[in-house]
Structures are given as C-alpha cells and as structure tokens.
Amino acid sequence: MTTDSEALERTRTGAVAGLRVTAVDKVFDTRRGRVEALRGVDLSIGRGEFVAVLGRSGCGKTTLLRILGGLLAPTRGTVEAGGRSIRRPDGTRDDRVLSDVGMVFQDPNLFPWYTVADNVALPLKLRGVGRLERRKRAEELCERFGLRGFAAAYPRELSGGMRQRAALARAVSCDPSVLLMDEPFGALDAVTRDRMDLELQELHDAAGATTVFVTHSIPEAVLLADRVVLLTARPGRVRSIVEVPLARPRSIEVETTAEFGNAVRTLRRLLDEDGPR
C-alpha cells in the first residue's frame, strides 16, 4: 500500500501523476481565534491511483484537497509531485511542477457568461489552444458527458446534474494527470449520483488520472476508490487507510456483495470510534 518515489514519476506531458504529502499542518487564523484544520498529515498517492478521502463534516477534507491543488499553502509540511515541491519558496503554486491538474468543486462553478462549450473548453483556452480546435474538443466532451445538444446553452439552462457534468468535462478537457474532486456529486439526487459515480469510474479506468475524491459517503468511497483515507475529526489527521479489494470495473451491483459490505462496516466502525460529535 505504500507508494514510493518510483511511482511518482513523470507522465507523457512532462507533469507529474503521483502526489506525496509530508507532515502537513494547516492552521487558520480566523476572527474567533486559531482553528487547527489539519495536523501532521502524511499521505502518498501513487500514479493513476484512485484515493477517496473520507471524514465527517468539518474534518479538513476540503482543506487537504485545496492544499493538494495548490489553492492553499500548508502552515507546515510539504506537498510534492515527483519529488519536487508544488510550491515556490514565495508560497505560490509552481506550475512547472503541478500544472495539469483538474479540479471539480462542490459547486459546479461554471461561468454564467460562457456557453457550456466555452466553459468546458476554458482550460484549453488558457493553454492557448485555438478557437476551432477548442470548439471541436468541446463538442466531443459534451457528447461524452451526456450534454449533447447543450454546447451552445448557457449554464443557467442546465439541471444541477448536467451542470456538474459540465464541470467534470471542464476538469478533464485538457487530459489532466491529476484529478481532485471535492464532494462533486453531494448535491445530486441518489440516482443521478450513482450514475455519475459509474461514469467517473469509467473515466478513471480510461484516462488513468491520479484521482483524489473527497466525500462523506462511505458507500461512495468504497464504490470508487482503490484506497480510502479516513480523517479524524478536527484537527484532521489520517486515522487509517483501508484498501478496497474489489475488482474493476465495478458495477452498482457490487454494493450487494459481502466484500463491499465488509469494507463499509470496517469504515463505519472506524468513523464511530472517532467519537460522537
């Protein structure tokens, strides 16, 4: 289950697919005093691995993900991709180390001034891909993510599920080697959520991006992940790491198997031991 530095090698795009978190603390100075969000988090994520981060509300899952994506600087500790820190000495993200990362947030965060196609192709635009090529790629992505016929629509014309699909399409539009997802399907209804989970699995199996998926749903974590990282309540620490011994590809029926049930039970027990809140 440990992934050493050999796994953290460079991908075809010159960027890095594996991540290593070492002794990361994060303290927020708020108006009501200091809040310790993360304490001493160590984590290695291998190239192409699907890791779910599980924990209760407010345990620092989102903070950890934002640190991984370089949106937040850790108070102490380092995040490395391929043995190099993702931050420059001045604290900003070093895009030479970590640039091809796709992020999906709780909210779709689509830009209301762009059509679905322009939203989806935004990462390509930032990379200087020409207009015609962008349009072509956006059409393909819309097709693939069930948004056929909506390329020219504005986000407000989409349903919640379709917006999150568009956000996912945007995140993978430039074929990132790292995909960071923060409870992306939390606001969706159960059926839509199951379908999105399966689509995400398909996407991961095909593209093989290193994926970190934050969730508070135990079944969702077990369904999707190779390993489930359990965080304790605040301050968030790695409580334990549980491997999911289920073969891929997994269908939704896997939820009725004994292995699935065992994994869910184990995780639930570990979460309960963390104490009532």
Binding site: R66, G69, G70, L71, R93, D95, S99, V101, G102, M103, F105, D107, N109, F111, P112, W113, Y114, L122, P123, K125, L126, Y154, R156, R170, L180
Partner: protein
C-alpha cells in the same frame, strides 16, 4: 403596451378635463392641444435642432467622462481596500452634497459655454458608475476564482475570463442610471448660464411667459432621455446577453 396606451389616454383626458371643465388658468396648465401645437412648432423650427445638438453633446460628453472616470475609480477602489476605506468619508460627502449647487462655481471656472455643462453632467453621472463598478470588482465569485487558480491562470487571463465578465453587468447598471443623471446635469447647467441648449430654451420660454412652449420643450427633453436610456439598455443587451437581468427584462 395596451395598458400604457390606456394610461396615457387617461392622463391626457384628465389634463383636458382640468383645463376645460375646472377652468385652470392656461398659464398654469396649458391645454394638451396647445402643448401639442407648440411641440410641432418647436420640432419644426430649425433653431431648435441647434439647441438639441448642444444639449446632446453636453450629455454624451459628460456621460463619457463619467464613464471613464467612474470605471477607473471603481476598479482602483475595488482593488485597493485601504484606499477605499481612506476615501470613504469623501465619497459619502460627495454623495450627499447637492451637486447642482456647484453650477455657479462651474460657470466661474469653465465659463458660460458647454464645458461647464459637460462637467456638471459628468459630476452627476460619476457616482452611480463608480459605486457600481466598485461593487462589481468586489463581486468576483470565490468559486470562480478557485477555478481560475486551479487552472494556473495568469493575471491577464483572470481579468479577461473572470473579472471583466463579472464586472460588466455592474458597469451597465451604473450607466443606465448615469445617462439619466447626465441629462439632469446638462439641463440644470443650461438653466443657470449660457445661451444655448434645451435648458436655455426652457428658461427663455418662461421669460416670454409662453407656457405651452415650456411644456413642449420638457416633452422633447423627456423623449431625448428615453432615447439615450434605450441606447444604453440596448448596449447592455448586446454586451452581456447572458446576464439574468437582461433575460428577465426581455420576457
């Protein structure tokens, strides 16, 4: 549309009623027909259009100055919080002071020509633009910013794809108010000094005790205001077609 027509007809009817039945003095309230005749007279006389042109130049000139200054001020204050805090008392003072009281001062500084009117129009139109742009610059969504940062977007791309589109609807909201204020500024400026513009025609009609003409020029000024406002609203529809306010307005 039908509702508006009925309302206007009702208004004109009441007006005519007041004049012919209640026998309100025709100097205080001239009959609609008399105002209509005067309006035709005003519109067909070639001298009027010189005055219209003068007023239009003042309004559009003042509005343009206010637009440039307002956007610049709003962006700077929106970006530099300490400067915004430092200038807040001055902004509040500028907001509450009766700005048309400055017209005599502007006449002293800029003379009786169009410049003093352009400055007056600009002063009135400045605040709605500056305050809206300030709000717009502050309104960049945190989640949207995360998206851009997650993608490693640079300064220019962040401006082009995020900050500018976020702020643009606020610019137009301010501009729609500002164009109306600019008309007020120019006309009040013309009341108090100079010998050209529709405001001057109003004063001249007053001095000639020509009430129908006075009302006719006011109608003409209203029409000009409506056209200018419609021009800004149209520009908004073209520039930010995605914006909710525009969509609601169209439905």
């Amino acid at each position: 549309m039908v509702g508006s027509a009925v309302l206007i007809a009702l208004l004109l009817g009441t007006w005519q009623f007041a004049v012919s039945v209640l026998e309100v003095s025709s100097f205080i309230l001239p009959a609609p027909a008399a105002v209509g005749r005067s309006l035709v007279d005003v519109v067909t006389s070639p001298g009027t259009w010189m005055h219209v042109r003068v007023t239009l130049v003042e309004v559009v000139g003042g509005f343009a100055v206010a637009l440039a200054a307002g956007i610049a001020t709003g962006v700077v204050l929106g970006r530099v919080p300490w400067l915004e805090r430092a200038t807040r008392p001055a902004l509040v003072a500028f907001q509450v002071v009766p700005k048309v009281a400055f017209v005599p001062v502007l006449v002293i500084w800029f003379g009786f020509g169009p410049t003093s009117k352009i400055v007056m129009a600009a002063i009135l139109a400045f605040l709605p633009i500056a305050l809206n742009v300030l709000l717009g610059v502050r309104s960049v969504d945190k989640g949207h910013r995360d998206v851009m940062r997650g993608l490693g977007a640079g300064r220019w791309a962040t401006f082009r794809d995020l900050e500018l589109p976020t702020t643009l609807p606020y610019v137009f909201t301010g501009a729609e108010v500002a164009i109306v204020f600019a008309v007020i500024g120019a006309v009040v400026g013309e009341y108090l000094g100079g010998n050209a513009g529709l405001g001057f025609v109003v004063v001249r009609s007053l001095n000639a005790l020509d009430a129908p003409r006075l009302f006719a020029v006011i109608v003409l000024l209203t029409l000009i205001g409506v056209v200018l406002h419609a021009a800004v609203a149209t520009a908004r529809c073209l520039a930010v077609p995605w914006h909710d306010g525009v969509v609601v307005g169209r439905r």
